[in-house]
Subunit: 501 residues, 4 copies
Amino acid sequence: MNRNIETPICDLGFSDKQEAVQPEALKLASRTRRRSSAASTCSFSSACFTASSDEDTVISPREKKQRNTKGFTDFCVKNVLSQHGFGRREIEIAEQEMPGIMTLRKRAREDKPLRNANIVCCTHINAQTAVMVEGLIELGASVRWASCNIYSTQNAVAAALAEAGIPVFAWRGETEEDFWWCLDKCINAPGWAPNMILDDGGDATHLMWKKYPEIFKGIKGIVEESLTGVHRLYHMSKNGKLTVPAINVNDSVTKMKFDNFYCVQDSILDSLKRSTDIMFGGKQVVVCGYGDVGKGCAKSLKAQGCIVYVTEIDPICALQASMDGHRVVTLNEVIRNVDIVVTATGNKNIVTREHMNRMKNGCIVCNMGHSNSEIDVNSLHTPELTWERVRSQVDHIIWPDGRMIILLAEGRLVNMSCSTIPSFVVSITASTQALALIELYNAIPGRYKNDVYLLPKKMDEYVASLHLPTFDAHLTELTDEQAKYLGLNKSGPFKPNYYRY
Amino acid sequence: MNRNIETPICDLGFSDKQEAVQPEALKLASRTRRRSSAASTCSFSSACFTASSDEDTVISPREKKQRNTKGFTDFCVKNVLSQHGFGRREIEIAEQEMPGIMTLRKRAREDKPLRNANIVCCTHINAQTAVMVEGLIELGASVRWASCNIYSTQNAVAAALAEAGIPVFAWRGETEEDFWWCLDKCINAPGWAPNMILDDGGDATHLMWKKYPEIFKGIKGIVEESLTGVHRLYHMSKNGKLTVPAINVNDSVTKMKFDNFYCVQDSILDSLKRSTDIMFGGKQVVVCGYGDVGKGCAKSLKAQGCIVYVTEIDPICALQASMDGHRVVTLNEVIRNVDIVVTATGNKNIVTREHMNRMKNGCIVCNMGHSNSEIDVNSLHTPELTWERVRSQVDHIIWPDGRMIILLAEGRLVNMSCSTIPSFVVSITASTQALALIELYNAIPGRYKNDVYLLPKKMDEYVASLHLPTFDAHLTELTDEQAKYLGLNKSGPFKPNYYRY
Amino acid sequence: MNRNIETPICDLGFSDKQEAVQPEALKLASRTRRRSSAASTCSFSSACFTASSDEDTVISPREKKQRNTKGFTDFCVKNVLSQHGFGRREIEIAEQEMPGIMTLRKRAREDKPLRNANIVCCTHINAQTAVMVEGLIELGASVRWASCNIYSTQNAVAAALAEAGIPVFAWRGETEEDFWWCLDKCINAPGWAPNMILDDGGDATHLMWKKYPEIFKGIKGIVEESLTGVHRLYHMSKNGKLTVPAINVNDSVTKMKFDNFYCVQDSILDSLKRSTDIMFGGKQVVVCGYGDVGKGCAKSLKAQGCIVYVTEIDPICALQASMDGHRVVTLNEVIRNVDIVVTATGNKNIVTREHMNRMKNGCIVCNMGHSNSEIDVNSLHTPELTWERVRSQVDHIIWPDGRMIILLAEGRLVNMSCSTIPSFVVSITASTQALALIELYNAIPGRYKNDVYLLPKKMDEYVASLHLPTFDAHLTELTDEQAKYLGLNKSGPFKPNYYRY
Amino acid sequence: MNRNIETPICDLGFSDKQEAVQPEALKLASRTRRRSSAASTCSFSSACFTASSDEDTVISPREKKQRNTKGFTDFCVKNVLSQHGFGRREIEIAEQEMPGIMTLRKRAREDKPLRNANIVCCTHINAQTAVMVEGLIELGASVRWASCNIYSTQNAVAAALAEAGIPVFAWRGETEEDFWWCLDKCINAPGWAPNMILDDGGDATHLMWKKYPEIFKGIKGIVEESLTGVHRLYHMSKNGKLTVPAINVNDSVTKMKFDNFYCVQDSILDSLKRSTDIMFGGKQVVVCGYGDVGKGCAKSLKAQGCIVYVTEIDPICALQASMDGHRVVTLNEVIRNVDIVVTATGNKNIVTREHMNRMKNGCIVCNMGHSNSEIDVNSLHTPELTWERVRSQVDHIIWPDGRMIILLAEGRLVNMSCSTIPSFVVSITASTQALALIELYNAIPGRYKNDVYLLPKKMDEYVASLHLPTFDAHLTELTDEQAKYLGLNKSGPFKPNYYRY
């Protein structure tokens, strides 16, 4: 038995100081997350991109009595009858690109490792998450599901889920009040005794803990996906209020690499191309920040013939950028010459009005980072500047002298707004969430204390292995002799927790 | 004051189990390290490569009374008078490529942070390490220096050091007995009270602890560079025998990235080219292992037009290889077709006799990994095979049917044997070692317990920053507002300890 | 004076045999060019992509009497009054990305090198070509303009041109009869004596030569852009019917490199991404053909992490593919395993029904080559296969066993249908056309015989130089001594005609 | 029968003007070619690199009567008896890496297409050329062989050839007089009636034409490899003195791509690494000239993490550099900042003393171009500068203020001096030469006039095809239908002569 594969996250470097002074970055993200249509923590974005804006918003779904074709009524969505067919097809298309969660469903279908699990689910609702949640049900769980974001629900998918008999409460364009009403419906229902929470942002956890403390006591585990939600959990833990174990899936190795480095390599090109039709060869680009996101951006842009400059505050990352063949500069040094500015820092006010005053005509400005504060967009709302919306998500901002800059997605995450997230990337996250639920639900008592944990390394490796057949990749197995030589178990985990992939 | 920037290494994942069953890999490395001319833990290798073998070994330096031009006699090297000029020039050339250690010397020259430090030094002795050790002296230290490897000493450099009045005891081709005699001279000398150890492999620490426990009590800190030495320290710590704090510089981020990923990108090409003059375009290569070393090999070879296959045991690394555009295969699948086999696993018996029996004619086999056991070279010493040495470090091994494979460096680290380590890479390591010595020597009492520590993140960042001017790289500084937003100190550290660069 | 900078194209290798047996490929292209909405010779494609299909086609523009806001009536377009504003803005946006033609306009504005040139213009009509044609007018020319393609006209742009007083005759969705009527209006008009032809496909030339031989006698030169048109001209020349000099701009070096190698590097990624949202990393792709188009596809896809296989008939190109790190295979060898098939051969039936029968589920099939016959799409129209249109330009074709392939753009040029051509690329072509017109119009008598010429190398170099400021690229000038050493004129041309860039 | 596959080179753009004013570049190359140990036209260079300089030069081979072990005496080499074994082994090693020429030998062994050909051979003499010449003999030819360069002969190889009974006249370090004596021995010998010439530089052709006009009348064809030799032939042709057909193999597509673009990608890295041990990551490099050699250098250096700047005089190449992601600059702009300067222009005085006065300390300067005049090395021989030879081919040149630059190979071709040419590259050239000999020797009378021809495209393709099995590359064959569609012969040639690969 592996007693020590799991690691409380607090040991991994969230030091006291960071807690004592909770970074403003996180506070802001939390406060603003439902005000922006591109929620900063959203990782399922095709919804955002493909959304049409022509939906009638006259009658709230809450005011209509609905039933699906089989007479089922325990849900609240928009237009179940007219849209479920289209939504089901979207789900089927997504299934083809989500090998991890589909394989998991197939392998564990017999075992039903989530038998009798009653899960309150609060995540984005779209074709890809539907594949995951229908998977949870296939593995034995009951689920009640609300959206974690008032703008991101794919109505047709919600309709398909309602048609399939799943209690789902969500539609695109909920009010703040609607939001809490839907979530309440998932926690408190006749004959419903939740014992697990699958959360994205911490709202389900917070509402249940605050309003339904008795129900909260029945919870065996929480799985949280977002950075914001993880910090809320950690705060609870610090203050002794976390009375159940939780798993932070946000920081799983496999998920992080795909959400950031790999996903970004595709989406920076796609975002720029779809919004501006720019030709990449010979363009001068400055990438602000050289973490996983900045590294991915810089690599792809360079491969397509851009000349990439990097700005960094951290000398280690700056040295990496240098060795990788990028000039490390301050933004001021290059701002007059570059054709494209990409922010990827997680910091605020990286690109200021002063910078934008000095950009050359036609410079493209966009944000690939965590929050929407990297570019000081507010500073552009002054009377002497003219804004022209030339395409969806593309604004020309024109100075009095005729000079113009091109702002994408109003400074929000450009790959959320102007590109799509491949289902394959979501498959990684979804598999990670499902495994975390299984782990917490089946853990022997005492294995996890009331703390925030990372997914055990071995399960992280398992998520990766579920996605290898897509590439026809063949793993090598250790011989007994080799395993002994390395001091490893033949089935993993293969690396210490601190290993830098 | 930063109370928590340093992290005892035990928190970073060396779990109990790994200790309880000390991997054989480490034990073997330890036992064999002085039997092989390419010491498995050697990171200063230009010495190995440029060494001539024509030196007279008739009279041992121990039997000759030597004095330098100023009459100084407290040293034992080979031919001090005839070679010191050439050695000094080699040191001067190295200085030009070691910006980190040179800058450190210049900056701290006045402060003398190592004033009164008496350091027993046991490392490789070559032009680059000479730059470091002369730096330690410039910063105020006294040093007595023996080599950690019986084959790697650059005699001319040792002569230059002796000429400069440094008590150095080393020559290429020491016997085992010589080795311990030299080390003894560095620990136990009239009027010498050592208070620091700079070790590479753990022998100085072990000898002093075992033979001179009274002297050992005077030690304020140990800085250890090698994996083997770190594990010996850790073992001492486990068993309660480590009575001083130690810093493991082997796992510093900056050092590791340069020793592995960046250094390897150059040296895999260089090693293959110098030894075989092979043309890279279109060659099929299998790289066994996709850690930092394997990643570096695969990236460079692919960039030069090779078709790269990867073998892996770890699904996460296998998924990375797939996403990076390499087919992940088992060695058996491709062994008949590849032109080059590169091992980079740290494991043993990766390439077996059975594999070699099936390789195609002219296949090149080499090892870039940790130990010399990755290729089962012993299995090739059978009567039916003919060995032909066609160049230094290059053997043709010929099967009865005329088929031939090309084995480089007899399976030892090929980049140690057939390439050189750039001084720039050594500069990173040397700066890390010097800073670790300064940190331990100046730490306020109680800051470090008697345990094994990683270099504080902030110092790791400082090492990186020392090397940025080489690239004319300009760091960006956080504004007060940004620092507050991120919850960071403006001067770093900028990342949590678990951050994966 | 440069007597020999221009080269009749016949010297460059269109050998007798090739003419005697005119390849069917060209004949077909010629015959089908107006039947397909993605004209095989189209190089201005944003029109195709951004076109909406909801335009009313009830009343033909020919039946409506139109006048612009200033009372001008010598044109025939759709909805001049309602659309010209939007069209003008599209033109203005295009101007920003077309540095070559804009610089040319600015430099030659005073000289008016096309003063008194009366040009019959028959090309695609869209924002980018409008920038060129308005440039011709700025340089002194009068123009009458019809479209060379019944589907590609941007109506709003045509409206803007009509509003600007340019006699333009074109709309999207012309009938075959409309097409000839419009063209006729450009040749034969009261008080109009054309002396130049700017053609794309050869129809203006053909119509004038056939129907208006007297007018044709007044022509001083023809500039032809398309492969088809060039071959028609060459055929005329062979048969002694070409009574004016013509310049083939299709084969200009600068234009060719941009239309193919550079443009393709962006558009293969963009086409696949926009249509399928596929993630590139680790995908296995076979690129059929390794000419400039195939080379561009292979390079970009590999850089994004794909594993690229190449098929070739030509051993020289195959050897290049090998050296560039791609496996050279037959399609049969890999057809069961690849995720994406890209054709780029200019040949027919590269991907047959038999191949498609064996593809794996979800395989994407698309064409980047010259014609729409590379993929045998017709063979897929059999009763047992189900076609599902899942997005614009994306069909799922489903076999009875449930296996499905994804066909893009029905096998037509995928980058024309699913991507856009950057204005920068069009700027190269447009500058080349404008310079060819200026050259022919101003050539001293006798300089050009009645033959088909390539653009003089020096002008080709000039087109390139017009686009360098975009990249802030600074040319080096030869010293007198160096020019003499190389036997070159300091202002070029710098290379012999046969030079392979 | 293909009547028109061969193309007289004069049609390919060597215009009158270029001839009238023969560029000084060529004249110089011709005049200096035997004065420099790295002959500017040398393409077989491993000889140069591996040569030792310690050979006794006391007694000239001409003064010694030699016989091989079988009593054969018709040769003049150095030390036939002591060295032939080692030479034979070098030849055998080379055979393994020369698939083209070896396959050709195997395939045509029965046919003996060179039966009764008597070839005067004047090329470099080393292991790789020996593989070719022994091939010619295997195909039926008789050969007499002298070296085309007084420094490049591998004596051991010459010994092996003599031992094998081949009349070879060459040794390293011939005097000018020796050179002509040796060549004379190959032309004029008892019972020897030469009918073919294989030349490299034009000396055999010139000597025979001048001194033995009667013998010259018996020649059926000349195959010339070097740029200089080709221009001498062309000059003869212009002046009506060329009385036999000649094939220029220098400009064959396959050979050129390998001699330049592909070969350079490996050798620029290798040359820099072997001579300076520099680390590539982050180094700033300026590559002067962006032809095939510059392109190869820039690509490899960028891939290894260098930041590459390009200088160009030709706007088309400059635009290519921009699109490929390199800044195009003048040398003056960057000369103070770069770490490495690489010349690849074929021009002179690219790097002047003035540039070198401004380089930063430690800047590396080397030449990859055609001649040794690109760097103005002479300007560095002034009293205030100190030259230090730090390694073979590496000089430190030190300014009075201590600043130092590192000059490689004294400005001669660095990849000839500091790297090796892979046998694979030589195999391409050797196959091309052998096929050219076969073509001329077997051509039906009248097929070739007394002019200079390029190798027929079909044979160029055949050379490529001979090298595909090395990469396990599988060509696709045209179907009858496809060949008809393209207007091509199924067995090639596949491209028009002007095609740019």
